[in-house]
């Protein structure tokens, strides 16, 4: 099922400069797998060494933070938008 994945400015160079790409999968994790198969440079930016969503980014299914849903197992359906946004942080 195709979903739209929106990328932040800093990640776009890893995806051929695109702000938005289409990817397939029934979960956020599957969508990421499809995405990183085509754009390997994104892999380290999305998921950390333990296989969890990288702490520097937030991932949304539509407007819902998937960390508070089922993380990478969060289901997506045709027409959903997966947005990747840098976390807002500082000290």
């Amino acid at each position: 099922m195709p979903v739209e994945v929106r990328l932040p400015t800093l990640l776009r160079p890893h995806a051929g400069g695109s702000a938005s790409v289409s990817a397939a999968g029934a979960t956020v994790g599957e969508v990421f797998a499809d995405l990183t198969a085509r754009y390997p440079g994104l892999a380290d930016q999305l998921v950390d060494e333990s296989g969890s969503i990288h702490k520097f980014v937030n991932v949304y299914r539509n407007d819902d933070d998937v960390r508070y849903l089922d993380q990478l197992e969060t289901k997506v359906t045709d027409g959903d938008v997966v947005s990747i946004l840098p976390a807002v942080a500082g000290g």
Binding site: P8, L10, F56, N58, Y60, D63, D64, D65, R67, Y68, S83, L85, P86, A87, V88, A89, G90, G91
Partner: protein, 145 residues
């Protein structure tokens, strides 16, 4: 438009919401997001809504805006036809000036206005900055009645 532009214009109730949220967050740092219109990708300096957020780090020295609050702000901005144009956070015991961590993190949102609120002294101090390519430029802040 110059690097330090625009002037940040806050209504008095927006100012009170920001500063009140900072005090409410003590002893931890507090944080929130600013929504407003943009011209191109640049904030105009007008703020249509201030959104207090939770500090996911629950820390006196760092903050990370709760992802759920960021998502809700994103939705609210879209419904207004506006964008998230900046953020604020408190420094509980230091100046209202970006820390090295703030400068490092600003690379993710170089177009934003960064508001710092110092609670170190008896009276709060609110200042605003642009941070781009590791360079800090202060913005004028005007309180509108």
């Amino acid at each position: 438009m110059g690097f330090a532009s625009p002037t940040l214009r806050l209504a008095e109730d927006q100012y009170r919401t920001i500063v009140g949220h900072c005090y409410d967050g003590l002893p931890d740092e507090a944080c929130g997001l600013l929504i407003g219109p943009v011209s191109g990708s640049e904030p105009s300096g007008v703020v249509s809504e201030v959104r207090p957020c939770r500090n996911e780090n629950a820390s006196a020295i760092t903050y990370r805006i709760d992802g759920r609050d960021q998502g809700a702000a994103m939705k609210a901005a879209r419904e207004r036809g506006h964008e998230i144009v900046g953020c604020w956070h408190s420094h509980t015991h230091t100046d209202a000036y970006p820390s090295p961590t703030d400068v490092e993190q600003a690379k993710y949102y170089p177009e934003w206005i960064y508001v710092l609120v110092s609670l170190r002294d008896d009276d709060p101090v609110l200042r605003a900055y642009r941070i781009r390519d590791d360079t800090i430029a202060e913005c004028q802040v005007v309180l509108d009645g």
